[in-house]
């Protein structure tokens, strides 16, 4: 990319713009949908923002301890990933986020590449959605929207990932896995 950008200096203005697009396209496309929660971050009592591209993930993988069961599972999960982006907000009181905050994301997930595989709404006001992104029949990304009255979380995992393994990991982080008796007919998704 550096060599390519180096040649840009001798190009016309339009060519330079095109060159810039080519140079930075991988950075722009790392995240599969855009989210801007600056408004919510200002209101939140607790905010988690994680943006990790592929190179950082692979770099971090070298520091994950294979003797630690959780870290070993994460190390295996991130093997083929090229990015993970998390925004999670906790609020002191309900009603700080609105459906409009999620509309921008949902509209981006209505394209043909994305398919909503799960949508759960509870009486307690929780709304959870999982979207899968497929390109040429291959899983290339996952989007998770988990909205509770006092908490909002959006996750974009870029790359192929096994959701069952990811869900299983959820029961290992000091939080008991919420196992429910499975139906004989299998999972309902």
């Amino acid at each position: 990319m550096t060599a390519l950008c180096g040649t840009c200096f001798s190009l016309s203005r339009r060519a330079k713009l095109a060159c810039l697009l080519v140079c930075f396209a991988p950075l722009a496309s790392a995240q599969q949908f855009q989210f801007n929660f600056d408004r919510l971050a200002a209101k939140a009592s607790d905010t988690v923002e994680v943006s990790l591209d592929g190179s950082t993930l692979q770099f971090a993988a070298k520091f994950l301890d294979s003797k630690d069961p959780d870290q070993d599972k994460v190390r295996k999960l991130i093997a083929g990933l090229t990015g993970i982006y998390v925004r999670s907000f906790e609020f002191q009181k309900a009603g700080e986020w609105t459906a409009a905050d999620l509309e921008g994301i949902r509209s981006q997930l209505k394209t043909s590449e994305w398919a909503k595989i799960v949508s759960v709404k509870s009486n307690e006001g929780e709304t959870d959605e999982i979207y899968l992104r497929k390109e040429n029949g291959k899983l290339t990304g996952v989007a998770v929207i988990a909205a509770e009255p006092k908490e909002l979380t959006v996750v974009n995992i870029v790359g192929p990932i096994d959701l069952d393994s990811l869900a299983e990991l959820g029961g290992h982080f000091g939080i008991p896995k919420m196992d429910t008796p499975k139906k004989d007919t299998g999972k309902q998704k």
Partner: protein
């Protein structure tokens, strides 16, 4: 003040050097000068390289640990949410 003048005159009066003074000076001058010990430049450069490499490795370790913590945090959040959604879906079929 006479005594002071006398003392000064005595102290500053011209004296002839010993007879072998010139010979001793010449002998001493002909001896090789003992070099002042200086650290070799390559050793200073090597030390600098080692210090820089150590600092680089330390910084790499720090960045790695930070990245690892972020990865673990991201997966902690994602997995708990997916686990909850999956459990809710499975719960529907009960």
């Amino acid at each position: 003040m006479d005594w002071l003048e006398r003392e000064l005159k005595g102290a500053l009066s011209r004296e002839e050097p010993p007879a072998d003074f010139a010979a001793r000076v010449l002998r001493r001058a002909s001896q090789p000068v003992r070099p002042v010990y200086r650290w070799p430049r390559w050793l200073a450069a090597a030390a600098a390289v080692i210090v820089l490499a150590g600092a680089g490795l330390e910084y790499r370790q720090y960045r790695g640990e930070m990245a690892k913590e972020q990865v673990m945090q991201a997966f902690r959040i994602a997995s708990v949410k997916v686990n909850r959604i999956q459990s809710a879906v499975e719960g529907v079929g009960k």
